[in-house]
């Protein structure tokens, strides 16, 4: 399968980019940063190509589904989405410091997906319950949401480090300093995108639940943890509009929300307690 080979190459590209972003920021070498951006663009282009190639190959294999099912596809898709979102942010805020935090996360996800022998990279037939368009909308919105929340989490963590003066008091870390206002803005925008995507995920999931389980809401652990995540982000957005919440409280809640979303993801992927969502792993 050519797509797997390309995704392996993409993993090394992201790893190289992560190292270059770190070097560029710590040693203040602008040229290396520019090259890192260029290579990231190349990595993303290859990643997108691999995604469509995998989709095409799944049809050739007589299986035919959007490649966002199973841990391998979900992790690589999410990593790709994070990389794309990061690139959009970089072009907007004109600083590469954020890349020194986000790209290593992307690399770790890709390494875990591609080099872990426990994760099957083959295109696998799906049970009937995981076929159909509802599942495509449900899963794609879910992983785009996770990607946005991951970036929001990174921005919020940096914000809290800024507030605690950990970054500005250390000479090396000082170089990856990003103004708190900017981090807050990135975090808010990513939460807004992630919240909309999570809402789409919840509602399409409800429609699917009605068909498969007979009720819109089953209080399945994954549904429940996702609802909890949604509520936390809803509280952040409400607080921001009504009480003009900025900074610390938003950042703290954003980190809590991200933690809850990870719990929901782990249960959905079959790593934690039993759930009706377990077939999602496709294993």
């Amino acid at each position: 399968m050519k797509n797997v080979i390309i995704l392996n190459v993409v993993t090394y590209i992201y790893l190289l980019c992560a190292a270059m972003y770190l070097v560029s920021v710590i040693f203040q070498v602008k040229r290396i940063g520019q090259i890192a951006t260029g290579i990231t663009v190349l990595g993303i282009a290859l990643h997108i190509a691999a995604f469509f190639l995998r989709w095409y190959e799944s049809y050739q294999a007589g299986i035919g589904h959007l490649p966002i099912r199973g841990p391998y596809e979900c992790l690589t898709f999410s990593a790709g989405m994070i990389a794309i979102m990061y690139l959009v942010i970089e072009s907007t805020i004109k600083t590469r410091a954020f890349g020194a935090v986000v790209l290593p996360c992307v690399s770790v996800m890709m390494i875990y997906a591609t080099l872990n022998s426990g994760i099957n990279s083959r295109i696998q037939p799906m049970p009937e319950v995981l076929q159909g368009n509802y599942i495509n909308y449900h899963l794609s919105s879910c992983f785009v949401g996770y990607a946005a929340f991951t970036i929001s989490w990174a921005a919020s963590t940096l914000f809290l480090l800024n507030s605690a003066r950990i970054i500005t008091s250390t000479n090396t870390l000082k170089k990856i300093f990003i103004p708190s206002e900017l981090l807050d803005d990135i975090s808010y925008k990513m939460i807004a995108i992630g919240f909309i995507m999570f809402s789409i995920m919840l509602v399409t999931g409800m429609f699917r639940s009605k068909i498969v389980w007979g009720r819109y809401w089953e209080w399945d652990p994954v549904q429940t943890w996702s609802l909890l995540t949604w509520i936390v982000y809803a509280v952040i957005l409400h607080g921001r509009y009504t009480w003009k919440w900025r900074g610390g409280i938003t950042a703290t809640l954003s980190i809590i929300g991200f933690g809850l979303s990870i719990v929901s993801l782990l249960i959905g992927a079959g790593f934690a307690s039993p759930s009706l969502h377990f077939p999602i792993t496709g294993q």
Binding site: G132, F207, Y216, W243
Partner: protein, 429 residues
């Protein structure tokens, strides 16, 4: 009395209540989810035993919190109604917004040609805002006001409305149910009748025909990919709708959705003979669990259990059971005692299993989804921006104050004001 009502209403509409209710709901959800782990940690503790034996999601406290959340949403929406009405009256809106300023600048320009300065200022503002409004004051103080995106405030209502619509939809859906039908190839159910869990029947004015069913396998393997059935709705002898259904694709007609559930090989069906008190012989073909009705007395009887050469029948009023085989037998109860029942044979037919979902709240849930996404997009990605300028003639100079505010992204309003100031300086220099 009015004061008490206002106080209660304000409390019910407050964002504090929203946060408290949402936090309490989150806490209860978290508690329910963590109970198994807590049980392991606090073995034998009384409070954990009480929690573990409670279904929190169906408990009174949880339902009251959900109702309170809905009341809060409605009250909050009503509270902001006045502001929304004011949206349609520009002057009312502007008065209110002048008090909140994200950015403000002040410029002093020489010369006394106020008309020229006003023209330059209006041109600069027009590049960012449609139709700025100029208010000429009699005492040498003039104002210019402009805004855009004021209707994005309605997104707040859309978001609230969507959640209420969703709740209503889900409540209406509780009246719905799922019913399973086995159909053979070529079979027509005329009219289509489905039953809710309490065995109340719902009869439709159309027939359901199953023309074809098949199993599709993954290429080159014997692994099943999916099952499909070709179904048609027949009304007054004419096919009004035909659809190939599978697990995710339905035939939607009237208030029902029919999905493929699974393909069932060789379902046994019992051929029953009933001899009426008048000696008339009637034949019925039923599968396990199916109901048939006797003519004249119209009593339902269910095929309640299959064995190798016998079948159990169940009558409902009063409840009675009867095992039948080849020899005719009777129920004990008087109303049925004149009828003799016997099993003629079992036939085995290939059947497709269909899932009929009757969901009266589906449209509400769909519309809530559309309203929710529209509302959220508007709320997060569009903002109301408002700027104002005052010109005051003072000591042969013109003092200009520029201010503005935005519901989101105050940085953008600062950039806009900086741009207008630059234009103004270049135009008057």
């Amino acid at each position: 009395m009015k004061r008490v009502f206002t106080t209660i209403f304000n409390q019910l509409a407050s964002i504090t209540l929203t946060i408290i209710v949402l936090s309490a709901i989150s806490l209860l959800i978290g508690l329910q989810l963590a109970t198994p782990k807590l049980q392991a940690v606090f073995k034998g503790s009384r409070w954990i035993t009480v929690i573990a034996s409670t279904d929190i999601f169906r408990s009174r406290v949880f339902i009251i919190l959900l109702i309170l959340f809905c009341i809060n949403l409605i009250a909050c929406t009503l509270k902001h109604l006045r502001k929304t009405v004011a949206l349609f009256r520009v002057s009312a809106m502007l008065q209110e917004d002048v008090t909140s300023v994200s950015w403000m600048t002040s410029e002093v320009i020489g010369g006394r040609d106020v008309d020229n300065v006003l023209r330059i200022l209006t041109d600069a503002v027009t590049r960012h805002f449609k139709k700025p409004k100029l208010i000429r004051g009699g005492s040498g103080i003039h104002s210019l006001i402009a805004e855009r995106g004021k209707y994005t405030n309605l997104a707040f209502y859309l978001a609230h409305l969507s959640i209420l619509t969703l709740v209503i939809g889900v409540i209406i859906s509780l009246r719905g149910f799922t019913y399973y039908i086995d159909m053979a190839e070529g079979q027509v159910i005329n009219p289509l009748v489905i039953f809710d869990p309490k065995q109340h029947e719902k009869r439709f004015d159309f027939a359901l025909a199953c023309e074809d069913f098949k199993t599709i396998y993954y290429t080159g393997t014997n692994k099943e990919m999916k099952h499909e059935s070709t179904l048609s709705i027949v009304k007054e002898g004419k096919k009004v709708k035909t659809q190939v259904v599978d697990y995710g694709t339905s035939l939607r007609y009237s208030t029902i959705d029919i999905f493929q559930n699974r393909f069932v090989n060789r379902i046994p069906r019992a051929n029953i003979q009933v001899i009426t008190p008048q000696g008339e012989k009637l034949l019925y073909e039923v599968k396990n669990g199916e109901i048939f009705r006797l003519p004249e007395i119209n009593l339902p009887i269910r095929a309640a259990g299959f064995r190798e050469n016998s079948l159990q029948l169940l009558s409902f009023s009063p409840p009675d059971r009867l095992w039948i085989s080849a020899s005719p037998v009777r129920f004990f109860q008087a109303v049925l005692s004149g009828y003799q029942f016997s099993l003629v044979k079992f036939t085995y037919t290939e059947m497709t299993n269909l899932k009929v979902i009757y969901d009266p709240g589906k449209a509400w849930v769909w519309y809530s989804f559309l309203i929710m996404i529209t509302g959220f997009f508007n709320m997060f990605f569009f903002s109301q921006r408002y700027i104002w300028a005052t010109l005051k003639e003072q000591d042969n100079q013109i003092v200009i104050k520029l201010g503005g505010t935005s519901t989101k992204n105050p940085q953008a309003i600062r950039q806009t004001l900086e741009y207008i100031t630059r234009e103004l300086k270049e135009g008057t220099s």
